[in-house]
């Protein structure tokens, strides 16, 4: 009996010891690697390292662009200068601005990004509201067709549309962009219809019912309830639409560029100018024996920086709206 007691004590001590050891080991492990509840220090460190290094790689073209745009010709040729130019060489920017016709191009860009966007956002909100709030025959098919318009390549519809526009005399004018936007077929309209649809579906029906009891009609419901409650969706759609119209060049080139049927419009955008940068440069500064002015990558990069600078400024001021857009609209709802 006595022996048994000792034995028991001994075992107990051992268990406690091993438990203590396991406990402290677990604690260290929890701090460093983490448990299944929380990430540990080492894991956190690894995550930060990955995120920062991938982030650097991600921004590399942008950094390269900005650095190169500041280099003078001697900096470009000097192989010892890699990341830090010997000074800010502003002449690249002045030349690039001259080549790109900066003033009229930037006005054109703003114009073409802003006006169709306003129409597009408003019409898409109307359509999205119609889909979200009302039940009607063929709604599912029609909504599937909305998605369908997003998927079909624009190359199919582009030629008949071009013919139609040239017959109506719209080529080279802003109307070529405004009309489709007005009819909910602007650039990536389907996405915006979808955004508004998702948003309006989430507004409580009680609001509308209460208004209807008070005698509000359909339009009043839309203007007095739907629009004020969907400001976030409007902001997000507006910003994305603006950016996408700004960056769109395929159709812009088709409708405003001077290719094809010899149409030459007075509207130009900054990206169209960037596209023709080299040709424009050579026209403006013809190469001859006496000047050393030749196009180099620094000037081209300066032009590229100029063309994205307005967007970068908009992004950094309003980045909250861009980055939280998906959360705000709740596309992933359900």
């Amino acid at each position: 009996m006595f022996a048994k007691g000792i034995n028991f004590n001994f075992v107990k001590k051992n268990i406690v010891k091993s438990r203590k050891f396991a406990y402290s080991w677990n604690k260290i492990k929890n701090i460093l690697i983490g448990s299944n509840v929380k990430r540990g220090l080492i894991i956190q460190l690894i995550i930060y390292t990955i995120l920062i290094s991938v982030g650097f790689v991600y921004l590399y073209p942008l950094l390269y662009m900005i650095v190169t745009s500041m280099k003078s010709l001697s900096d470009l040729l000097d192989s010892s200068i890699n990341w830090i130019p010997s000074g800010f060489y502003i002449k690249n920017y002045i030349q690039a601005m001259n080549v790109m016709n900066f003033k009229s191009a930037i006005i054109g860009s703003f114009y073409i990004a802003l006006v169709p966007t306003l129409f597009q956002v408003f019409v898409c909100s109307l359509v999205g509201y119609g889909f979200a709030r009302y039940d009607f025959f063929g709604k599912r098919i029609l909504f599937a067709l909305v998605i369908f318009t997003f998927v079909i390549p624009p190359q199919i519809t582009m030629m008949p549309t071009y013919v139609l526009y040239s017959r109506l005399g719209l080529i080279g004018t802003m109307k070529a962009f405004i009309f489709p936007a007005l009819l909910g077929q602007g650039f990536k309209s389907a996405i915006f219809i979808f955004i508004f649809y998702q948003f309006y579906r989430q507004t409580p029906k009680v609001l509308y019912e209460a208004a209807e009891i008070d005698g509000a009609g359909h339009l009043i419901c839309y203007f007095k309830i739907a629009i004020p409650t969907s400001i976030p969706a409007f902001i997000v759609s507006f910003l994305f639409s603006f950016v996408w119209y700004w960056n769109e060049t395929y159709l812009t080139q088709l409708y405003l560029g001077n290719s094809g049927m010899g149409t030459n419009s007075s509207i130009t955008t900054i990206l169209l100018q960037l596209q023709q940068f080299e040709a424009n440069y050579n026209a403006l500064y013809p190469a001859n024996v006496y000047t050393t002015m030749r196009i180099n990558e620094a000037i081209e990069m300066a032009g590229t920086v100029i063309s994205i600078l307005p967007l970068l400024i908009i992004y950094f001021i309003l980045q909250k709206y861009f980055v939280e857009s998906v959360d705000r609209i709740g596309i992933t709802g359900e």
Partner: protein, 298 residues
């Protein structure tokens, strides 16, 4: 009896009118879109199909279509070798690039999802390219060689790949490595969508799994992935459509150029556009089939 029937009809008519009246506002709200769809999609598609079947002669103010049947389609295959090749390389490179973009976006979203400091900063950083991506800008960056990872030695990879693989497969993989940054730049929107989806995953599921001793790794495969599967599907389609419409895509430049070329013109270009659309829809079908099968198996 007769009267009763009349009543019924009356009620029926009344009902129809009532239902119509109830449905009318909905139709009115979406009427701009319906009109736009009829003009810019349906009419345009029919018209473009007619172009593709005919020889299009443009005269000032009028368009003359001469029906040539499927000649344009045949010519695309027989005359223009570059189109079929470009189409094929687009097909292969998208098959490679779509998974890369989606998986990259998912990994970044998973890393960002935890309780991370500077989360907002990283989100801003990874979303930035979406704002500035455009055809001319990309062209300039690619022509400057600013799109490869500087540390990666692409020359070696290119060399090995081109020796060991057939050209049609090695070329897309080489471009994948050479333009890896540009490809990753397409993942901004997808990261946001994944992040939002990850935050919606029911936390009690994880808690239950943790009580049962599930590791983070198991949680990912058994809980996270099945829950966000619809979002993976959405992102795959979105990625494919963006890649298909990006200015870096050679096919759409080819179609654009042929549209205004003197020999080829609208008919030929329309035939190309239709073939491109068919290939694209096959790819979309493939993606949706992939996701459907798994859903049934689970």
């Amino acid at each position: 009896m007769k009267k009763n029937k009349m009543d019924n009809i009356k009620i029926g008519k009344f009902k129809i009118i009532k239902v119509l009246k109830k449905q009318l506002p909905g139709y009115l709200f979406i009427s701009p879109w319906i009109l736009g769809f009829l003009i810019f999609v349906l009419w345009a598609m029919i018209q473009s199909f007619r172009y593709s079947m005919s020889n299009v002669v443009l005269t000032p103010g009028r368009i003359i279509l001469v029906n040539v049947g499927f000649n344009n389609y045949r010519n695309v295959f027989l005359q223009d070798m570059s189109f079929v090749q470009t189409l094929l390389s687009f097909f292969i490179s998208s098959i490679l690039e779509v998974p890369v973009i989606v998986v990259f976006a998912l990994i970044i979203a998973l890393l960002l999802n935890g309780d991370l400091r500077l989360k907002g900063f990283f989100r801003t950083l990874y979303f930035l390219p979406v704002v500035i991506v455009s055809g001319p800008v990309m062209d300039k960056l690619i022509s400057q060689g600013a799109t490869t990872v500087p540390i990666m030695n692409t020359a070696v990879i290119t060399n090995i790949l081109s020796k060991s693989l057939p050209q049609w497969l090695s070329n897309p993989i080489v471009t994948l490595f050479e333009q890896v940054i540009i490809i990753l730049w397409y993942s901004g929107v997808q990261i946001l969508i994944f992040l939002a989806a990850l935050q919606k995953v029911d936390n009690s599921l994880y808690e239950a799994a943790k009580i049962d001793g599930g590791s983070a790794w198991e949680c990912f495969w058994k809980i996270t992935l099945p829950t966000i599967k619809p979002m993976i599907f959405l992102n795959a389609i979105y990625t494919l459509v963006t890649l298909a419409n990006s200015d870096q895509n050679n096919i759409i430049t080819l179609i654009y150029n042929d549209m205004f070329s003197a020999i080829r013109g609208y008919g030929f270009a329309s035939a190309m556009a239709w073939m491109y659309a068919i290939i694209l829809s096959i790819m979309i079908l493939l993606i949706s089939l992939m996701f459907k099968e798994k859903r049934e198996g689970a």
